[in-house]
Amino acid sequence: MSRNRITTIATALLVSFIAPGFARPASKQDMVELLKAVDDRQRNQGDWRSVIYMEQKEKNKVDVAYEALVFRRSADQKFIILFTKPKASQGQGYLRLDKNLWFYDPSVGKWERRTERERIGGTNSRRSDFDESRLAEEYDPEDNGEAKLGAYNAQIMTLKGKPDLDLAFPVIKLWVDKESKNVLKRQEFALSGRLLRTSYYPKWKKAYSESRKMEVWYPEEMRFYDEVEKANSTLILVKSVDMKPLEANLFTKAWLESKSR
């Protein structure tokens, strides 16, 4: 065997031993990039309009269902949820202005300031569930390896809240489809480390964004399971997504009030 041939074989063997070792744990930067990709796929960078259906199941209580319109504007992070059904909730709505969340109830005609972590309509969904994904801005990811989730190969990562940011959930565990980079499953933890909520995103759809001149993804179905009160769950369906520009004066208290007159 020539000396060159021996060197080549030795190099090939070395590479074959070392390379998988490098490939197995993804670097922190890889995780950050993946998280950015998760956000980016959903980012519209413009206006958004959709119809949502919410169904809340609670132990020893009658199931409740709502239909609402969601409007949002990425530029200044403005946001509206306007309830259209049932009749008792018609005209009620949330408005996010200057990082403040307001709730309007037409039966009393008053605006109340609510926390950003408000449970929307008393369900187990939060405002952030209907807003643009900003995971990469708010959390630092850690690699937790890969796993099969149903038919999908999922990248698991633990997200820890960035310092000096006030976040509802300081720790999140995320399962991301390696192929599509859509979120499949999400677990949110309390400061104490207790699991509070598990969310599943079984259906993703895409729609054309005029502002980005490309198609963006959104979860068409979200299922939230309360992990503290085990019997409670919420189903959210997102329909009729439209990303055409909305009228300029839409994100005002006057507009929301006018919808119940």
Binding site: K59, N60, K99, N100, E112, R113, T115, E116, R117, G161, D166, L167, A168, F169, P170, E188, A190, L191, S192, R194, L196, V228, E229
Partner: protein, 438 residues
């Protein structure tokens, strides 16, 4: 003086002579007095239950609470570095008998079988002798509230959560920075309900509230000041003085607002400031959402009494008119043998006064006995009535000054009711009176 005693005797004999009429009138006066005593006992009972519940569960006579705002739209019911505030209070409130400090918060309590929202009060049980004395336990040991992550619940909450002493529950809440947090607690004591206020409050060690809301050890929710009994009625003045004192000591103090702390979140959140502001309140502010029951009861008492006293006045006047008509010849004779007009007037006033004294004393005694019997029966009231009574059982408080006041007031009213008929009787000319045939 002998004339006065003689008139008094004549009036008394006249009453005995007309026993039937006297009996009916005295009974009427006794009934009104008895009702007044019972209504007053109910109102006093509600008031005392309210003070007891408020000052045991959520308030001192005067409180120094406050809010800390991390950002302009995020506030928590927190007093930071409370030791320094206590120093100011101790120096400037000589009327203070004692004080305690308690953590404040709001959380969802979740058991395996149910959940409920409740105000979470953090206490140091070793420094709360009054709390231990007032709270009546149905099971568990109140001293165990000194253990970390222990919990005291009230009976009505136990019904909802379906737990017993030794069971674990989870408290879930948002910290003042808006992060979700939970803490697992063990039920160590179950107490009897104390009216409506106990339905929405649970007690944990103060360290548990600090852990749940991620607070530093030098923070608390409120300093509850208990005044010496003779100063309790002056709580509002003392609170006003304390506000000025705290401002002079360099603290930012919120404007007076007669509402409990949990009704102030909206207002405080709307205001554009950050950091610490103190809020000085009195016990009535902390239960202002309930004091309407007391006001309603007092209005009801006033309306009922006005109607009943009007009936008594009419009855007395009518009876006097009849008596004067029946005894016109007697009046004429008394006048003819030398009794002055003033003597006649006095005689009829004495009659009315005697009926008043007899009736009111009997009524006061009767009312007190009925109140005592009702208290002894420990009558449980339904939930809707607890809202009014501030207690899970009927509680009537009879006090001697209130009895004396009822006796004096109604006797005075019955005596004055006879003034005009007595005056008319005194004005009768002796000759025509003697020749009167009634």
């Amino acid at each position: 003086m002998s004339n006065l005693f003689l008139d008094f005797q004549i009036a008394l004999r006249s009453l005995f002579q007309h026993r039937r009429r006297t009996f009916f009138l005295v009974t009427a006066i006794a009934s009104v007095t008895g009702l007044l005593v019972l209504l007053d006992a109910l109102s006093t009972g509600v008031s005392e239950s309210m003070i007891r519940a408020a000052t045991t569960l959520s308030s001192g006579h005067v409180n120094v609470g406050g809010f800390f705002k991390v950002t302009s739209n995020q506030c928590g019911p927190v007093v930071t570095e409370f030791g320094k505030v206590v120093e100011v209070v101790e120096k400037n409130v000589p009327e203070m008998q004692s004080f305690v400090h308690r953590g404040r918060g709001w959380a969802k309590i979740i058991s395996d079988s149910g959940s409920t929202q409740a105000g979470v009060t953090g206490i140091e049980i070793k420094n709360e002798p009054d709390f231990k004395r007032v709270i009546r336990l149905t099971s568990g040991r109140i001293e165990d509230l000194a253990e970390p992550n222990s919990l005291l619940l009230f009976e009505s909450q136990v019904e909802r959560l379906k737990v017993k002493v030794g069971d674990a529950v989870t408290l879930s809440a948002m910290t003042n920075r808006g992060a979700a947090n939970t803490i697992d607690c063990r039920v160590v004591a179950i107490a009897k309900d104390m009216g409506l206020m106990s339905k929405f409050g649970v007690f944990v060690p103060i360290e548990t509230t600090r852990a749940l809301y991620q607070l530093r050890p030098d923070t608390t929710g409120a300093i509850q000041i208990y005044l010496q009994p003779r100063y309790v009625a002056k709580a509002a003045d003392i609170a006003a003085r304390l506000r000025v004192t705290l401002e002079k000591a360099g603290y930012r103090v919120m404007d007076p607002d007669a509402n409990p702390f949990w009704m102030k979140f909206q207002t405080v959140n709307r205001e554009d400031w950050t950091g610490q502001k103190l809020d000085v309140t009195i016990w009535e502010d902390e239960v202002s959402f309930l004091t309407w029951t007391l006001k309603a009861l007092n209005v009801l008492k006033l309306v009922l009494l006005t109607i009943l006293i009007a009936i008594v006045i009419t009855g007395i006047m009518n009876t006097m008119w009849i008596a004067i008509r029946e005894r016109t010849r007697e009046i004429g004779t008394l006048r003819a043998i030398g009794m002055q007009r003033w003597g006649v007037l006095r005689m009829f006033l004495f009659e009315s006064f005697q009926m008043g004294v007899l009736g009111t004393v009997a009524g006061a005694l009767g009312g007190s006995v009925v109140a005592g019997l009702l208290n002894a029966a420990k009558i449980k009231v339904p939930l809707s009535v607890q809202l009014f009574l501030m207690s899970d059982q009927l509680n009537l408080a009879v006090h001697l000054p209130a009895l004396a006041q009822a006796i004096v007031t109604i006797t005075l009213i019955t005596t004055l009711a006879a003034l005009y008929p007595a005056y008319r009787a005194a004005r009768l000319p002796p000759v025509s009176a003697m020749s009167h045939f009634g």
